[in-house]
Assembly symmetry: D2
Homo-oligomer: 316 residues x 4
Amino acid sequence: MDLQPILDGIAAKIAPHLSEGRVADYIPALARVEREQFGMAVVTCAGKTAQTGAADTLFSIQSISKAFTLTMALGKIGNDLWNRVGREPSGSAFNSIMQLETEHGIPRNPLINAGAIVVTDVILSHRAERGSRGSGDAGIDAIQEILDFMRLVADDPSIAIDREVAESEAAHGFRNASLANFMRSFGNMENPVERSLRVYFHQCAIAMSCRQLARAGLFLAADGRDPISGRKIVSPSRARRINAIMLTCGHYDASGDFAFKVGLPGKSGVGGGILCIVPDVAAIAVWSPGLNKSGNSHAGTLALEMLARETGWSIF
Amino acid sequence: MDLQPILDGIAAKIAPHLSEGRVADYIPALARVEREQFGMAVVTCAGKTAQTGAADTLFSIQSISKAFTLTMALGKIGNDLWNRVGREPSGSAFNSIMQLETEHGIPRNPLINAGAIVVTDVILSHRAERGSRGSGDAGIDAIQEILDFMRLVADDPSIAIDREVAESEAAHGFRNASLANFMRSFGNMENPVERSLRVYFHQCAIAMSCRQLARAGLFLAADGRDPISGRKIVSPSRARRINAIMLTCGHYDASGDFAFKVGLPGKSGVGGGILCIVPDVAAIAVWSPGLNKSGNSHAGTLALEMLARETGWSIF
Amino acid sequence: MDLQPILDGIAAKIAPHLSEGRVADYIPALARVEREQFGMAVVTCAGKTAQTGAADTLFSIQSISKAFTLTMALGKIGNDLWNRVGREPSGSAFNSIMQLETEHGIPRNPLINAGAIVVTDVILSHRAERGSRGSGDAGIDAIQEILDFMRLVADDPSIAIDREVAESEAAHGFRNASLANFMRSFGNMENPVERSLRVYFHQCAIAMSCRQLARAGLFLAADGRDPISGRKIVSPSRARRINAIMLTCGHYDASGDFAFKVGLPGKSGVGGGILCIVPDVAAIAVWSPGLNKSGNSHAGTLALEMLARETGWSIF
Amino acid sequence: MDLQPILDGIAAKIAPHLSEGRVADYIPALARVEREQFGMAVVTCAGKTAQTGAADTLFSIQSISKAFTLTMALGKIGNDLWNRVGREPSGSAFNSIMQLETEHGIPRNPLINAGAIVVTDVILSHRAERGSRGSGDAGIDAIQEILDFMRLVADDPSIAIDREVAESEAAHGFRNASLANFMRSFGNMENPVERSLRVYFHQCAIAMSCRQLARAGLFLAADGRDPISGRKIVSPSRARRINAIMLTCGHYDASGDFAFKVGLPGKSGVGGGILCIVPDVAAIAVWSPGLNKSGNSHAGTLALEMLARETGWSIF
């Protein structure tokens, strides 16, 4: 299958829709991103890349980071993670606190905010020994470890954190502070809330391009092993399970709709990016900053629907 | 792949677990089913069948019927169905009414009780013209039409309704009557509540064996066309979308867990049956009456985990 | 205190507000009541009556009946009632079902719909032996017993049920049918749901005037004894406790606001009536069909605020 | 009425019940309070005091402070307060966050934690000009102003804050931090969350005896004017309205039960104290550290039931 004409065709068909969504405006650094942008990249398990539009433009990956920190935390404590976070769809908005109350501080899954904050807390508690390279600051070490992991899986040492976004998140992060304090009151946070949140805000502020992001997700399409570098990231069964969680929980309360329309595991971010996995075939990243009312990229979702239809890549 | 030894191996490994679950006891007709039974059948898109254990024993399909009535309703009114029922996981128990209140009488998805009752109401409103063959009773006609559909997709005219179960359901169906009246108060039921419920209780009381059920679901594994009879049931894209809904919503508030562990679209019933779809490969039916605490077959779920692991059939 | 000029003054001040509310329109028989009507009556423990406006016009007492059926049920089974219904404010709308789910079929209090239906179910189960006077129909006997009680406390044998309203309630009572079936599924209804609902719809359809209603409630202001007839209805402590429940729960999710503004125990009905108790002093009934957004009489609430302010009758 | 023998009789009857409750243990400073203590004091509008037991022992007033800060905030911004907090019973536990989500950051009433934190935030925003006496730290000034108010209404300059309790609250205040951050995310907190919480934790840590507390609440029983000093604290209608809120909301999700059994406006604290108002008659304070399952003093509630019964002071 020649992906290039398919991607270019999608870009052409998407163009009229780029003005339909609404850019995230809860922090200034995201609010001023120009809405009418679109990029898409596909990296196949065979190592080929196709891309269209602004596929090399950096954007804030935001919640897409949750798929990667989930991978890291499972590597650190394995199935013990499931004592602290569930793996069921929440049926609620990304920042809902109601279920936390009825379920005693255990978040529904690791891809909603509350769950991802627990995951970050795990990484902080079990961060790698850094020996003489350590900063002496646990938060900085954890941020560095997450960044190192993203650089490793993307095979690109240039990936960096947008510090302005990170600071802006922290300054407006009252809802996340509420979630974290709530879980802390149930004993489901091990580190000081401020420290875990600081790491969380930084992971969300990692800036990547579609090309980098598709490359970074490729191990999830290839049984946990990066098919280009040959590096083993996770076991095959764990990779499939992470994909399963992305399918059922990756788009908050629009996860069912995304599965229905696109039929692929995916994780979206409020920066307008979406990472999609086609098991055994490819990883896809798409980006367009205008969001639909569920907080997922409007044009990005449309583009993935088109791509899934034209390639027959739906897993169903 | 030779499925027969795999199935027989699973049956052997499952045997010690048959006493672990708890048989549904909300109606006498189900409560007296012997717990320690197990059957499994696989029908492949190539037309081959493998089975083990009590795969020819009839059991009450209960909620598994929802996957088939969903197919029928989509055939009748297409996407208009989504005005009356959502397609998101509920994150709640099968008979929860809370979301109905906050979401104004629109059930989350067609595979929880409330949603399935709406689907049945659609079938009743749009039942086929039966001309001189009609019974003169809309409810009976709708029940007959559902039964005819099951016989068609299973290619087996012997399939029947267990009338004792149907009557028992009706006599104890207060929760479902509550759901239906609640939706009626929001205008989301078109027919008299008693009539729609009567049809619903009868569809749940259809008795089938694992072999029949796997055969009946085969069209969902084969792009909507029964690969044995060649009969087209639904379009390829609709078949895939029904599978997507089964994956995200097919096991109530354990749907995420089932996707995580088994990795296949499936629909369970309180009678202990589970239908699973392996897109492009096969349909699987398993049955064991002991239920886990989420109301899904305990041994059946274990068996599907084993089968998915040994065959590599996870869609992820 | 000369009440007559106070009442007349209130009627004059209320006149411009009679067009502000919205008449209940969920059943035709209520929807066609003319909105711009107002009546008010006060009967004191000393046996004096003052009234203004349409105080002799009959209206549908609706939920005000709940205060009287609560009195009856406590007379029949005493504190055992509290095993089946709570006595806490619900913080929710009159017909909410959410709390029923989280609280396993036990309604919050006897003055919301669910709780009042349980109370009616109690009356039905423990209806008086009627011997040869019995109708042979338990529902009819219970309806008659409730009507007899209203005639007794109002000292007026002319009080009757508006059968058109009762039938209209039954024909549109899907939400109440949902509540009753829900409680039945938890074992908190003893009689057939249809029968209890039939009695409930009839008690709501009792037609009374302000004068009759204030007279009927007088025993609650006088330590449980009708100060005019001398008839003892309930014990002093029970009368005070019924008043307490009216204060905390009598106006659904506006109960706190009513206590704040008026400062008297009261029970409102969707027909536009409100009964208020001034312990040791008087009973008040007011009626105006236009409802505010909480479903309580708009002009009636304003009139009670004025009356409480001018008389200093607030219990606080 | 000679109160002394009544109080002494109650103390004798209460003695066997002092071991039945459970001392609050969420902070060490409260957990080590000896359970089997009991004190009670009544101060009448005529200026007489009766007391029994440990009525001069200091205890942490905790949530009882909410009635006083509510009084202060109403004095500062009047009815504008009701734009930021409701006045309906919550039907939920004292620290519930669910309603905050469905009601967009507006707490149900000023006597649950979330509402009281908003009230404290108001006091902080509108704290008195302190001129040269100001500390230069807004939080310290607000704490001082609250303490000054308590000293004023209790007519006792010795009242102080237990700093160990205040610090302990702050160290364990994750749930309150969650509530405050949640409201901040909806714009319903004006000051930095940490600052408002610091003031809140200090107001809860005020230590008073039953005698001081009854004296402090006396203005609420006397139309807003301290009948002993003659000092006007609030208007008569405001005093009555504060009493109304205490009656409907003063005991969290046991408010209805307290109204039912005691029949007086009251506010409880987790330190085991309860303040009760008998309009036009007296203020009562009772203290016993063992709590019932709703978090209110077990022996204190029993003692108030006895007192209300023996005096006939129920407002109903």
